[in-house]
């Protein structure tokens, strides 16, 4: 998986691409640490390029949410589609994150 950070409308956007599972842990964590340090607005996780996502990815999203909360920031999940959207719905993550 590739992870990168950009900024859009004053918010920090984490853009993920590829397969989001346990193997993506290190990359994701580094990106998260960087994103949380950014001064600007909310954190959006852009899932448009994510092909697959499993339960360890869900765990990592929660980790991001905890860290962001510690820094006083809100995390939203953006552009989930297909199988990714399905997993997020089944886990009722819509109750934990705004879905945009």
């Amino acid at each position: 998986m590739q992870a990168s950070i950009s900024s859009r409308d004053g918010n920090t956007v984490i853009v993920l691409n590829g397969r989001f599972d346990f193997n993506a842990h290190r990359e994701f964590r580094e990106t998260v640490d960087q994103a949380v340090k950014e001064v600007s607005g909310k954190i959006h996780v852009d899932l448009a390029g994510v092909e697959y996502l499993d339960s360890s990815a869900l765990g990592m999203l929660l980790m991001l949410r905890d860290k962001a909360k510690g820094a006083g920031k809100e995390v939203a999940l953006a552009n989930a589609r297909g199988a990714v959207k399905q997993v997020i719905d089944i886990a009722n993550f819509g109750k934990l994150f705004p879905l945009i």
Binding site: H25, R29, L53, D54, S55, S56, V84, A91, N92
Partner: protein, 569 residues
Amino acid sequence: MNILLVEDSAAEVSALSAILHAQGHTLVVCAGGDAALLQFSHQAYDVIITGAFVPGLDGFALTQAIQQRIVPRWQPVIIVFRECDEGLQARAIEAGADSFLVAPVTAATLNARLMVIERLQAMQRDADARMTQLSRFLAAEEEDLHIARHLIEHQMSPDGVRRLEDPAIEVWQQTCTRLGGNMVSVNRAPNGVLHAMLGDASGYGLSACVSLLPLIAPFYRMTSKGLSLQTIVRELNAKVRQALPENRAVAAQLVAVDTREGVISVWNGGMPTAFMLDGFGHHFMEFPLTHPPFGMVSDDDFDDRIEQHAFTRGEQLVLVTDGLLEAVGPLGKRFGEEGLAASLVGLPRSQRRKELMAAIDVHLAGEAPADDMTLLLIDCEKEAIPAHPLPAKVVSPRQLGHWHFELLIGVNEFSHIDVVPLLLDVVGRFESMQGKTGELFVILSELFNNALDHGILRLDSRLKHAHDGLETWLLLREERLTALSHGEICIAVAQVNEGGRLWLRVHCRDSGPGFDVASSLARLAQQSQEHVDERMHGRGLALIKRMAERLSFNESGNEVTVLLPIGNA
């Protein structure tokens, strides 16, 4: 007063009328007994004053006749004698007179006698009024009990039919005359899980039954919707608080029996300890009182935690109301936990209810029970899951839509091959699977990671929850992977065409010792569709369970089969 005077002597009539008129009484005079009886049958009089020896019916016969007619009430009668004769006076009292007078009658004596009679009559009127009131209350009470019984019997289910005929359930109930407010409700969730509720409202009669009403409809409705026991008990507590006056509580015990997973769940709010008997009738597991009754605590303080236990075959859960334990026999002894245990323990399942009924009969020895007594027996029989979740039959490889492959890897491959994409790549080449690999990815990823991380490497997921837990987990995982000397994982994927539908069967086996299947599945079984899990781990099986048609394990937990519908053939 309104007085009937029976006298044939004109002198007597005029002497007595003078006294009576002076006191303001109204007077009707008859010259003989027969005329007086006729007159009496037309109109009631406060007092009858009769001469002892009037023509026709004499005073005695007249008195007797009148008293007989007016039973069960009482007619005050005074008999007047010409002379003082104790024998005749005794006869007068025997005949039913209140008192007697001897002529010549003085105003003082007559007025005194009438005053006594007036007082007695006032008392009688008072007593009559109370009697009428009492019988009205009694009729109202009976009507209430009638309504109460009807309410409970017809609210047992929304369609008014008592659905207690579930084959897994045996109920015995004896209500007391006042109705003690015991209630049993049973329903099945869409996935076959049995929900049972044993309730016991405080108080008696209609008020007890009305207290039960808020529980019944939500219990049936929520069970039919497939909501979890925890969601249901939380709602019932809220309903009782809404519907009943403050501090009016309803004790209840709710049970969920999942025969597919072999897990029983109990929420006990203010009821006696429930217990499990094994197939030989040995007492081996208790579900004690853990919560206050419904209605006692606010939504915020409400605790929906349930007790769970795994079962296999032949177990039975025993639930009772306190009326059974507190049943007091003629010697003043309560039936108690000992009486209950003595009548159930050691007996085969089929005999327990009968034995208990007999034991209670002997214990009460004809005494009426003071409260409702209910026994609820629930069979706990785990379904035998076939090794093959699909109908077993020889599958010809040439059959349309069937294919199969498996991958067996060992220690050397674990860290060098990215297994899930490899499998997904193979599966994705089959025409039927194109564009459908999303769910399969989740299933393969969860199964393989579980097999490697938990099955082979014995890592504990709870590690992830600590501060920097994922990092610690990753380090430990690599450490163990490097040190690993043996172990293998086999994943088999097959597509089968059954009943006009295509299914994907994923089977994963690892060489590890397995895990506690029952308690994991029990936790899963309790999660409702709306469940939001905020933990860092433990989400994988829940995802599979909601995506797949079936998720089943072997007993030790190192083999798992998932069945996924992928469309029409």
